[in-house]
């Protein structure tokens, strides 16, 4: 079991001391996180790691998961897509399924803690159970351009929470309640981010027949149009005219996603047997992703839309120079020309890649800046600190709080 003190070599002892000071201020306050799944997905991943660390800090924290039948999760999937701006046909029957399932959870889940911290839309209706305790709703998704009536439906619940939390300023909405900005984070001690011995990196490259004899450009993403893998190939082909390099496109298997399979076919077609383009269908294997990122010369994230873009966070943490699109939470992580390069087009991505490959000292500086930026702002210790401050903010409304 990882302990909070294990992070001292990474962030310094004084940062952990600050966490302990904050935890003392939360004595006597109980908190319960509620989401829709205990495994799989980013929210469960972060709660799995964060809850034991909060307990280690002696915060009285609990975690519960709502239950739902297949129909409920089909409806919430539609909600999810609509909130991301995808046209979805949502009917009254869908809202009825959502409410029917929510009523069961309201009856079954204990929400008697001082603070109830609800994550994402699935459990949002639990607010109907609010008494005189404090409730927070955490929106992990990009709701900058929601489609149809889903946001309106959710809004009736949202406004009854005490505070709401978004991951990037662009996601915020005009609301009559307090809105806070808390970015997601990565765990530097997880398999995906921990230091790896060179032998591990070499063995992963060998497994996929990649020879590190020329610069490696990598995009780690599922095969999805919103991640623009075809655009990445176009940018690579442009770079390739001037610089001998290779491209890795690595992402999860797309067996249950018909559109993903089609995108993958198009990617293969576009790659046209180029031996320097490595298309890797990775099973969920964090060590391999870590190794591929560490083996790369430059990392690309040429998304068309993005939530926060944690693959960018992971790459920066490994001190890699990054070229990424100016979308979602990415500009929050990359300040152009300081901690990476931002782009808006294939041509822009290609130009940035050429700059970085031709100027290794500049690339190194951006990577080092990027790593420090992540250390200061996007590690799990900062996330824990922000959550504790958020809990305290519910009891202190002033702009400057003195203890």
């Amino acid at each position: 079991m990882i302990k909070i003190n294990d992070y001292i070599p990474i962030v310094g002892e004084s940062i952990i001391e600050d966490l302990r000071l904050l935890a003392q201020k939360l004595k006597g306050i109980s908190v319960k996180h509620i989401n829709s799944t205990s495994a799989g997905g980013g929210v469960a991943e972060i709660l799995n790691r964060m809850t034991p660390l909060l307990k280690d800090l002696e915060v009285d924290v609990y975690w519960d998961v709502i239950r739902g039948d297949e129909r409920f999760f089909e409806v919430t999937k539609k909600f999810h897509n609509a909130l991301h701006g995808r046209p979805e046909k949502i009917e009254q029957a869908d809202f009825d399924v959502f409410m029917e399932n929510s009523r069961k959870n309201i009856n079954e889940i204990d929400t008697g803690t001082n603070i109830v911290f609800v994550h994402d839309p699935q459990p949002i209706a639990l607010i109907n159970k609010k008494t005189d305790n404090k409730w927070i709703w955490r929106c992990h998704i990009d709701v900058s351009n929601p489609h149809g009536g889903v946001w309106k439906f959710l809004n009736d619940f949202i406004v009854r929470y005490d505070s709401i939390v978004f991951s990037a300023p662009i996601f915020s909405q005009p609301l009559p309640i307090k809105q806070f900005l808390i970015s997601p984070s990565i765990d530097p001690l997880s398999d995906k981010n921990k230091e790896l011995p060179q032998e591990t990196i070499d063995s992963v490259l060998k497994k996929y027949n990649i020879t590190p004899d020329k610069p490696i450009i990598t995009q780690i993403s599922r095969f999805d149009r919103l991640k623009d893998p075809l655009g990445v190939i176009e940018a690579y082909l442009e770079v390739r005219k001037y610089i001998d390099c290779q491209l890795i496109l690595a992402g999860g298997t797309a067996a249950d996603d018909p559109e993903g399979i089609q995108v993958l076919e198009e990617v293969k077609e576009k790659a046209q047997q180029d031996p320097d383009i490595h298309i890797l269908l990775l099973p969920q294997n964090d060590i391999e992703v870590n190794a591929l990122q560490r083996a790369s010369t430059v990392i690309v994230q040429k998304s068309i839309r993005e939530g926060f873009g944690l693959t960018v966070t992971e790459a920066l943490w490994k001190a890699k120079p990054v070229v990424a699109s100016h979308v979602g939470g990415i500009p929050f992580q990359i300040k152009h020309k300081y901690s990476g390069l931002l782009c808006h087009s294939v041509a822009g991505a290609a130009f940035a890649l050429k700059q970085l490959l031709n100027s290794p000292e500049y690339a190194k500086k951006l990577g080092e800046n990027g790593k420090e930026h992540i250390r200061n702002n996007f590690l799990i210790t900062r996330h824990i600190r922000d959550y504790m401050l958020l809990f305290l903010s519910l009891y202190h409304t002033e702009d400057v709080v003195y203890f």
Binding site: S14, E17, Q179, N369, H373
Partner: protein
């Protein structure tokens, strides 16, 4: 070696932690930016002139503020970006006067560059106004003389250093930083207090600022 003087009052190190609050306000033109700068709460101005410095403290020894960065990167108004980046923040002892200077700089630029008013940022690249909610907590570090002071200075967080140097003098409208204030009033060492007051903290990274303060105090201790 100087004789250590025991302070009349000990110095308590504080830490200052921020929670970021969204206001829902955004600007896509210079006109909107200037108009909102004049209206938003002081904690917004503080956030965009100081939090940027803190979040990106390693980037550059003379870091720009958020306004300068946005004007340069989102609107490509390099000249105005340079003017905003070079505002001498240390001259302003209150958020109010700093706010006026920023707004005046933009307005004056617009007066002479009418066409700049017509520029819009791309969708999604607007300037989002954010404010800081601060939490001030006493740490367990309490010191009675200069030697203890410098030893603790080596290990406190950058947040703590930031609080005692920046927040104390600007947001809370104290004329000088907490370190100089304590050294003068409790240790009676005016020369050392003045030496620390003379540092322009906005032109250091926070880690370099820590080193500079330590260096000045250690030199005094070795006299």
């Amino acid at each position: 070696m100087m004789t250590l003087i025991k302070a009349k009052e000990p110095f308590r190190f504080y830490t200052r932690l921020h929670l970021t609050e969204l206001t829902g306000l955004k600007a896509s033109t210079l006109g909107q930016l200037s108009s909102l700068i004049k209206k938003v709460p002081g904690s917004c101005i503080y956030h965009h002139t100081h939090r940027f410095l803190q979040q990106h403290q390693y980037l550059s020894p003379e870091p720009p503020n958020d306004f300068a960065y946005w004007v340069t990167e989102a609107l490509s108004e390099d000249e105005l970006g340079e003017k905003l980046a070079s505002i001498d923040t240390i001259q302003y002892s209150s958020i109010r006067s700093l706010r006026d200077k920023i707004a005046d700089t933009i307005d004056e630029y617009l007066e002479h560059n009418r066409v700049a008013e017509l520029k819009f940022s791309r969708l999604g690249e607007e300037f989002y106004f954010i404010k800081s909610k601060s939490f001030l907590l006493p740490t367990n570090y309490l010191v009675y003389d200069l030697r203890e002071f410098v030893d603790v200075l080596k290990k406190v967080t950058l947040d703590s250093i930031y609080f005692h140097i920046f927040e104390a003098r600007l947001r809370l409208e104290k004329g000088k930083n907490d370190f100089s204030n304590w050294i003068e009033t409790s240790l009676g060492d005016t020369a050392l207090a003045n030496a620390l007051s003379k540092l322009d903290p906005y032109t250091f990274t926070l880690e370099d600022l820590r080193k500079a303060v330590i260096r000045i105090i250690e030199r005094r201790l070795s006299e």
